[in-house]
């Protein structure tokens, strides 16, 4: 009886929390289809004009392409750096290892405002404000911890005898890494990459410092859009951005499912073996 109550109570709590988290997001989607010229909920009328206005406005399109470029580049960079960092932290034997670990994780502990301000001051001097390079550098730094933490936990459970086995079977260090280590820890690398992409995609605080008339990311464009004129285009952009985020996660999930399906339904390889020798 009490078990039933507890289970019911927990389910209800989970449901309420879910609604609480999702409701604001769900408000934005209908709002974006409003026919009215003002951000308003519930929406009046139904139209796709704000999506049209997003596509037609070059400043929105520039922001979109900047965000996409920065997110892709910074996730690639942070995956490379994060994997290397994780390898060093998990396997390295060197002094001050815990200090170095703290340093790698620091970007997610230091308040973004402080990161933004200090990077802004430094980049002004270097001429890196309002540049893709500058933005990628900062977002990479912010995303490396997520990759490093994910990959480090993957490496911690990695059986190093697999590497010894690979070496005994004729694989050098490079082949061993790319054919054994990396494929086995691929799920944690992928998780890190998704985190890195999302981190960059919706990062706004540091991006505000580094943005300007020449370059701004989608979240910064949205932020300034809301400040200047309250126009449902922002809602349309939010909805699309949401779609992109959900899309990334759904894509990863679908890939995993597909792989499992292929594995289960693949014809036994022995058929290939027989075919090849006949």
């Amino acid at each position: 009886m009490t078990r039933l109550l507890v289970r019911g109570g927990l389910s209800a709590l989970a449901l309420v929390t879910g609604i609480y988290l999702l409701l604001p997001v769900l408000v934005v989607v209908p709002t974006s289809f409003s026919a009215s010229s003002f951000l308003k909920f519930p929406p009046e009328g139904l139209s796709t004009r704000w999506y049209q206005s997003f596509v037609d406005d070059p400043s929105w399109m520039d922001a979109l392409s900047t965000s996409a470029r920065v997110a892709v580049l910074s996730s690639v960079c942070s995956v490379v750096l994060g994997v290397l960092a994780a390898l060093g932290l998990v396997r390295g034997r060197f002094p001050f290892r815990s200090g170095v670990t703290a340093l790698v994780v620091a970007p997610i502990i230091v308040p973004y405002v402080i990161v933004g301000l200090s990077v802004y001051i430094a980049f002004l001097r270097l001429g890196l404000t309002q540049t893709t390079v500058g933005m990628v550098l900062v977002h990479t730094a912010l995303a490396v911890p997520y990759v490093a933490i994910n990959v480090a936990s993957g490496l911690a459970t990695f059986d190093r005898r697999l590497e010894l086995a690979a070496m005994s079977l004729g694989a050098g260090p490079v082949a061993t890494f790319f054919r054994i280590t990396l494929p086995v820890i691929a799920p944690s690398v992928l998780a890190g990459a998704v985190f890195a992409f999302i981190t960059s995609w919706d990062e706004v605080v540091v991006a505000i410092f580094l943005s300007g008339p020449d370059l701004s990311t989608l979240p910064v464009r949205m932020w300034s859009g809301v400040r200047v004129q309250i126009d449902p285009t922002v809602a349309a952009v939010s909805s699309l951005s949401l779609l992109a985020t959900v899309g990334v996660f759904a894509g990863v999930g679908a890939a995993a499912l597909a792989r499992r399906w292929v594995r289960r339904h693949r014809a036994p390889l022995i058929v290939d073996l027989q075919g090849a020798t006949s």
Binding site: D159, R161, L162, L164, A165, A166, M167, S168, L169, G170, A171, G172, A175, T176, R179, I180, P183, V184, A186, R263, R266, A267, P268, L269, I270, D272, L273, Q274, A276, T277
Partner: protein, 378 residues
């Protein structure tokens, strides 16, 4: 093209190999010649250095001193992936992201074997371990015994001249272990290559090896055939580690040793004056009624039967000798039954020829082998 290509086993030379760590010595000046094509077992308790030695042969560890050669070529500085040795690990170490066939194909691909030859050789290797039907499976879908057989196939597919095995059966249950022991022996006979096999299980070592090297605290204690280690151990440690043993000790004088615990008189012809140990294996001892007539070429002791366990084909008898030692016997079960039962007053005897005289090394109690019961429990 096929696995019938003649491959001969390469000899391995281990010359003065020492492996030192900051605060310990794992191997201390080990010299050992493994003959081409033989099945050599490195036997020892944990911490004896047997795995360290294997890892040095494989190239995963570098010796502090000394050299390793294969087929006369010094490979001490050669990285593991260029040594061309096969290796099987205790926990299989199959690549989880590859199918069985891809696992077995891995060494062929690394060694740039022609692409069209790979499927045939993979199939041949899997046929050797009778697992062709599982080629498409993932390692996680196989049982432990199947995984270890895949690991064997993977280790031999590239036709190495030496196969190293690090406690390959340690993770398997008893029945499977015995089955795989036979399979590995058969594999050795079929392939004709050199096997170096590490185990802490003396029965496994006796059953499988051409020769056994017994290690203790980083040094080799004795090298020889299973029979010579069992029947002619060169010291107490070997005697106690390999098989169950009954030991008497004392000071020999004039070809006679008086056991210091029981006072039993043992004839030790040709042994000079000094502290020695005499070993009598359980199956060499006989037991009978107190008033039994003992042949003249036998030594005798008396005691009370403490335990008598019927084992089907034989029985195991523990006799507490007058004065204190307990000896273990393994004898036939007489058809009509006899006086040997719990509490009976009995005579124990053995041929003088069946007793082996060993140098007494007082520190020599083997830790992992409690089945020898007795020895020096005073």
């Amino acid at each position: 093209m096929t696995s019938t290509d003649a491959v001969t086993g390469a000899p391995i030379g281990i010359a003065g190999v020492t492996k030192r760590y900051a605060d310990s010595v794992a191997l201390d000046d080990v010299t050992l010649d493994v003959r081409g094509g033989e099945f050599l077992t490195l036997l020892g308790a944990s911490g004896s250095g047997k795995s360290t030695l294997l890892n040095i042969i494989a190239g995963f560890l570098e010796p502090t001193e000394g050299a390793v050669s294969v087929d006369g070529r010094d490979i001490t500085k050669v990285p593991p992936h260029r040594r061309g040795l096969g290796m099987v690990f205790q926990h299989y170490a199959l690549f989880p992201h590859m199918s069985v066939a891809d696992n077995v194909a891995f060494p062929l691909r690394r060694q740039k074997v022609a692409r069209r030859d790979i499927p045939g050789r993979v199939r041949d290797a899997l046929a050797v371990v009778q697992l062709e039907h599982l080629a498409g499976r993932r390692p996680s879908e196989l049982s432990g015994g199947q995984q270890q057989r895949v690991a064997l196939a993977r280790a031999i597919v590239a036709r190495p001249r030496v196969l190293l095995m690090d406690e390959p059966l340690g993770a398997l249950d008893k029945l499977l272990r015995e089955q795989l022991q036979l399979e590995i022996r058969r594999l050795h006979q079929e392939l004709g290559i050199t096997f170096v096999f590490v185990t802490h299980d003396q029965d496994e070592a006796l059953a499988m090896s051409d020769r056994i090297a017994l290690l203790r605290d980083g040094s080799i204690v004795q090298v020889g055939s299973p029979q010579s280690l069992y029947e002619r151990p060169n010291c107490r440690y070997t005697a106690e580690f390999v098989g169950a043993s009954n030991l008497f000790r004392g000071t020999a004088d004039g070809g006679v040793l008086v056991d210091e615990v029981t006072g039993v008189r043992l004839r030790v012809p040709g042994t000079g004056r000094g502290a020695v140990c005499v070993l009598v294996r359980p199956e060499r001892m006989h037991v009978g009624a107190r008033d039994v007539t003992v042949p003249p070429d036998c030594d005798v002791a008396h005691g009370i039967v403490e335990d008598c366990i019927y084992l089907g084909s034989s029985r195991r008898v523990e006799v507490r000798l007058t004065g204190g030692r307990t000896v273990v016997l393994r004898t036939d079960v007489p058809r009509g039954g006899d006086e040997v039962r719990h509490g009976a007053d009995v005579t124990v005897w053995w041929r003088v020829d069946d007793a082996a005289v060993l140098a007494d090394d007082p520190a020599g109690t083997a830790d992992p082998e409690p089945s020898g019961v007795l020895a020096a429990q005073h």
